[in-house]
């Protein structure tokens, strides 16, 4: 089974460290990668796609060089990452950028800085649950970490494996 990765893009090292630290509970099942610029992020995505799938991108908007929203738009246009869940974690995205992210990158969630840990957990849990529901058939491994009620509901509707 190919692992499902989480990618965090943030240019300030302390902030990046805080995000990754807050996501630690998910790391047992979803390996976390990080990048500090869009250029680096593209390389990391390439690397992730060689080893597995990109499940969730948590991206800042203001970054050195290319901005976060246009990176999300480019991810959305690539069929390999079109289904990845996309979250904007930022304090400085204006209305037009946010609209662009929603309309052109199919943005799934907008999270304002500063964030609360529980809030981030809830968003990541919900987005990964969506991704797993859409892309996975074997849901048992995710019951511990993700939204068990929704996964359980899907499992009930799935045909059971083989005969006894």
């Amino acid at each position: 089974m190919k692992p499902i990765f989480i990618l965090c893009i943030e240019d300030e090292p302390e902030v990046l460290e805080a995000v990754v630290r807050d996501l630690a509970p998910f790391e047992a099942r979803f390996p976390i990668e990080s990048a500090s610029s869009v250029a680096e992020a593209r390389e990391v995505v390439q690397d992730i796609l060689n080893r597995g799938r990109l499940g969730l991108v948590i991206c800042d908007h203001i970054l050195p060089g290319e901005d976060g929203v246009s990176f999300l738009v480019s991810l959305h246009r690539d069929p390999r990452t079109a289904g990845s869940r996309k979250v904007l974690l930022t304090a400085q995205a204006g209305l037009s950028d946010t609209v662009k992210a929603v309309n052109q990158a199919d943005l799934n969630h907008y999270l304002a800085k500063p964030w609360r840990r529980e809030e981030l957990h809830a968003v990541v849990r919900q987005q990964l649950t969506e991704f797993v529901l859409q892309h996975e058939t074997d849901l048992y491994p995710y019951l511990t970490l993700l939204d068990a009620a929704r996964l359980g509901e899907r499992i009930r509707q799935q045909p059971l494996p083989a005969d006894e």
């Binding site: 059971l160 494996p161 083989a162 006894e164």
Partner: protein
């Protein structure tokens, strides 16, 4: 296509053709044909070049084609028939020499296609003709000109018999159980019951493991082991989120589910398909085992192994945490339809358990939920479509193969090779149960029992005289032993689901499942020796 499948297909085809090429002394021609079908099915069931239920369908099809009266083989084979030549007016006729057996019998063709044996008086026997005298003969009586022709001794069953195996009463019993289970899942009765079971055990991890074993066991006694495991996993896996990554309690909790499900399935005739297969074989022999009798026979070993499993799991995977919160959402559904389900379920269970009092077969009672649940709109077309039809076909294949093996004389021939009476009844029963346990670790439990049930029945007909052999005990031992085959991830679907959770490793399962399975198997031998035969007295 992988090597295993290719080997399976080759073995199956070779097995199918062998009896057509080699003649085994003492075995009739239809017996040869049946042996071919049996070898083909066994090879396909063992290696699975096609899913096992398809092999069952294939077996039924081959039986209809090759063994039934209406099938092409019996239709197209024109038995050589001669008409008696009148020698003298005093009822004396001349027949070809081969038409009369050494015992002075001839076979008279009947319009239906089979033959009646007729005793005649042999007047004179010459090299090529025999003169016989009989008032039942006339110049127009069709007489089989070769008395050693296979059709003489074979009265083929109607093709209905083979197709009807899908509607065998035991399959109806199973169908009733499945529909009740599906309805329970639909109205979340299974979840509500789990909650009920786990409430009294509080937050003590050790007691929670016991609670899970018992809850899973009870549910899987009435639902399929696989469905129970799938449901329980969605309940317990979220509970593990708060535990340390390496707390052994996680392993104990996740293992409790498939182990509880495998053991719980033993408890009732509808708990798992192997029980039903064994019952079907017994019913065919005229030995009825009512629902409640099965439960009484099986319950002691189920309870003992459930408690043993608890001790083994806690010993192997000692919980580190002192407290585990089990707050499960969901209560009993109080809608009118859910109440309808509770009433139908309660009534069916009550009638099943009181069979001795009212005398109506549990197979008939099983049709009550099949009718009542859709009638009151408690289940709909969706649930009827979602019934495990593959399992029903799998069972039907086994049942029809059992019929064929018995009616063609293959059964007696197979077991006639061994001097059974020298072995003693217990040794035979123990051997069958051990074989069942070994096979079940690698094969589908249903297939294991499907293969072994006709053999047990055959041995029973021959070794019946041997001291202490009891067919009911033998078949129950075979069925129960198969449920203890749970060492490997592939042994049963519940094991596979537990492995799929990613919480446990193969070695955990092999250690716990293997140990509990072997102890269970040892207990099966004890029950076979001392407990189960008591019910046949």
């Amino acid at each position: 296509m992988n090597t295993r499948k290719a080997v399976g297909i080759l073995l199956g085809l070779a097995g199918f053709c062998l009896p057509w090429l080699v003649t085994f002394p003492g075995l009739s021609f239809p017996g040869h044909v049946t042996l071919g079908v049996f070898l083909l099915a066994a090879a396909f069931w063992l290696t699975e070049p096609v899913p096992i239920y398809i092999t069952s369908m294939l077996a039924i099809f081959l039986e209809v084609l090759l063994l039934s009266a209406e099938g092409p083989l019996c239709q197209f084979v024109r038995p050589p028939v001669a008409q008696p030549e009148v020698v003298a007016p005093t009822q004396t006729f001349r027949l070809p020499a081969g038409a009369v057996t050494s015992a002075g019998e001839v076979f008279v063709a009947r319009p239906a296609g089979n033959f009646d044996k007729l005793k005649v008086e042999v007047v004179e026997r010459r090299a090529d003709v025999v003169e016989v005298r009989s008032p039942a003969l006339s110049a127009s009586t069709p007489v089989l000109s070769r008395s050693d022709h296979w059709l003489a001794r074979y009265s083929p069953a109607s093709y209905r018999t083979f197709f009807a195996s899908l509607a065998d009463p035991i399959i109806i019993l199973f169908l009733g159980g499945c529909l009740l289970a599906d309805a329970s899942v639909k109205y979340r009765l299974d979840r509500a019951l789990t909650r009920l079971f786990l409430r009294p055990v509080g937050t003590n991890p050790k007691l929670i493991v016991l609670g899970l074993l018992v809850a899973t066991g009870v549910l899987s006694a009435f639902m399929s082991n696989t469905a129970t495991t799938a449901m329980m996993m969605t309940v317990v896996l979220p509970l593990l989120a708060g535990l340390d990554a390496d707390d052994p309690l996680k392993v104990a909790v996740v293992l409790a589910i498939p182990i509880g499900a495998n053991i719980g399935g033993i408890a009732t005739p509808i708990g798992t398909p192997p029980n039903a297969i064994a019952l079907a074989a017994l019913t065919k022999q005229g030995l009825s085992v009512p629902f409640v009798k099965w439960v009484l026979m099986a319950l002691p070993i189920v309870l003992v192994t459930l408690v043993l499993s608890w001790l083994v799991l806690l010993k192997l995977f000692r919980p580190r945490t002192r407290e585990l919160k089990t707050e499960l959402g969901g209560t009993f559904d109080r809608s009118p339809k859910a109440w309808g389900l509770y009433v139908v379920f309660g009534l069916t269970a009550l009638l099943w358990f009181t069979e001795n009092q009212h005398g109506i077969s549990s197979n008939i009672i099983a049709f009550l939920p099949v009718v009542a649940l859709p009638m009151f709109g408690i289940v709909g077309k969706k649930e009827i479509h979602a019934l495990p039809w593959d399992v029903f076909w799998l069972m039907a294949g086994g049942i029809s193969l059992g019929t064929a093996i018995k009616t063609t004389g293959l059964a007696e021939w197979m077991v006639g090779r061994v001097e059974w009476s020298a072995l003693g009844g217990f040794a035979i029963m123990a051997g069958l149960a051990l074989l069942s346990f070994l096979l079940a670790n690698f094969l589908s439990h249903t297939v294991t029992v499907t293969l072994l049930a006709p053999i047990a029945v055959s041995v029973g007909t021959v070794a019946g005289a041997a001291t202490g052999f009891d067919l009911t005990t033998a078949l129950i031992a075979v069925a129960v032993a198969s449920s203890y085959g749970m060492t490997l991830p592939i042994s049963t679907p519940p094991n596979a689901i537990a492995m799929g959770s990613g919480v446990i490793q193969t070695q955990h399962l092999v250690k716990a499942g293997g140990l509990i399975g072997i102890v269970g198997m040892a207990l099966v031998l004890v029950m076979t020796r001392f407990f189960w035969p008591l019910f046949s007295r």
